[in-house]
Symmetry: C2
Subunit: 347 residues, 2 copies
Amino acid sequence: MQDGTRIAILAHEKFPGRAKTAVGLLRYSDHDVVAVLDREIAESDPDARVHDYLPDVQDAPILGRAADAPEFDVLVVGIAPIGGGFDESWRGDVETAIESGADVWAGLHYFLAEDERIAGMAEEHGVDVWDVRRPPEDLTVAEGTAGDLDATVVLTVGSDCSTGKMTTTMELYEEARDRGWDAGFVPTGQTGAMIAGEGIVIDRAPADFAAGATEGMVLDAGAENDYVFVEGQGSIVHPAYSAVTCGILHGAMPDAMVLTHEAGREVIHGFESFSLPDPGALVSLYEDLASSVHDASIVGGALNTSALEPANASDAVIEYADAIDAPAADPVRGEVGPLLDAIEEST
Amino acid sequence: MQDGTRIAILAHEKFPGRAKTAVGLLRYSDHDVVAVLDREIAESDPDARVHDYLPDVQDAPILGRAADAPEFDVLVVGIAPIGGGFDESWRGDVETAIESGADVWAGLHYFLAEDERIAGMAEEHGVDVWDVRRPPEDLTVAEGTAGDLDATVVLTVGSDCSTGKMTTTMELYEEARDRGWDAGFVPTGQTGAMIAGEGIVIDRAPADFAAGATEGMVLDAGAENDYVFVEGQGSIVHPAYSAVTCGILHGAMPDAMVLTHEAGREVIHGFESFSLPDPGALVSLYEDLASSVHDASIVGGALNTSALEPANASDAVIEYADAIDAPAADPVRGEVGPLLDAIEEST
């Protein structure tokens, strides 16, 4: 984790509902957010602030352009359109940032460091462009060694994408630190990497190196901590993304897994002809697959209840715990304490 | 499949034991192999021929350099050192080939098309350099549609790497064609792609696109054939490569799987601290994981008995069939007919 890095987050027309990276940074990073850029909000309300939309995260002014922001060290592109392209209307903000001496972090499929104009300006002004999704050149195959760590490795897995793996991982990590545990966090996606200030986005790594890239990060974190919380991706039953899930599962060699799920979801999001297995079957599938390389159990479940009325959330959590035969929690409306207890007991 | 393409295969110091791609092309491709280049063999025996080493494949002279070979259309780099680098001692053969107007195919991690000198010569002489491992630029995520094909999709899976997935796939495909079935072959590795003359090497695709790249090839083959034989990779219990296996499994959405295994192998090759599950557990794992997106059964097994004395091979096959509770065959010493019967019965 870094501290004190001053960041401005570009989220034009998408804040907060469609700006997952921006919201993740506001909620979990130790970076100092000096501004969120959303020209649509800023135009309609020049005094808008993050707390008008999200009262429980770090506050910051919402401004129309980078030129209006207080001094910052990094401009983060905190949104990604479908397809991951660069929107030309963002160029002014990126150039303003570079001219002011700020680095640029982006999670786009379009790599800003390969944009001739941006690359040239970055060189001229001596700033770094970090394309978070770009795999490092030195990736290699896994050696199968993460299971030898003394540290307890905890991986969040899921029934589907967008079930709360990143959120659950961060809540577990923060609660562990609050308890005084010696804990590390391993990001595997773009938001997690920007929160950590480092990391490899596994979905863009060559499939042969997905496990190896995960393993490398887990070994580093495990050398320095007693507990390592690894952000999972996708789902082992996802028709498009399961390769990423499997690479992380076998590369990380967790000792314990937490199964995330969204209450009420019965089919794969965006692939609605694919039914989700019932939670008990999913527990078996993850445990059997993980244990084929390193013994691991689902020790708890995290239920995303955002689609439910508040009054129904706790019943849903109880029902979910019953279905997976393990303690469960709602990491947003509730507390992850019971999951940490389960992790502690399992090791 | 192409026909009549004249190829020379570079396999210096590695033929035949450590030249898997060279041997695969000699055994299964419809290309006309005009020469194998192995300067070590050629020096010790100027009259050496492939049949001196491998009597049951296409014959060709073994020569010391490309300049000595009869006219050819393609030079294939049919070996890859550990690490996948380009050996500078091969440069003379590659340049001779390009100057003679031949294309170059290579399965190295080092991309020849990015070698300035080779790229320049290729442009000058109007020849193509196909780096087989290089993922196409237009890869994308899977849409989850391979299961909708009318064609029967058969995937070879394995207990480990190098258990005979490519060989089994080719033997099934050839036997299917001999029976008059309308059959296609989908390569997923470098040797398979060179045999087919096209294809995507899935292990180098970004993990997010592993299923999508497989799906695209299966859809193409399935549109034109009643049966599609898909070459699998790695193993779902492999600590380094399972992401590739999983992406192919869910991208191809097979109707039937054939489980390959090497008799006597009890641990993962090169990762000897990892035990292989017993074959029955492996059947369950593959079936459960596959069926989470599309119903599929292991309908047969292929046993690589090369480590056994010939007298013990058939008992081992019977024992293997018993362990997986399905018909089994030895695709090299025996016939894959019983496996095709099982595939036909299953659909």
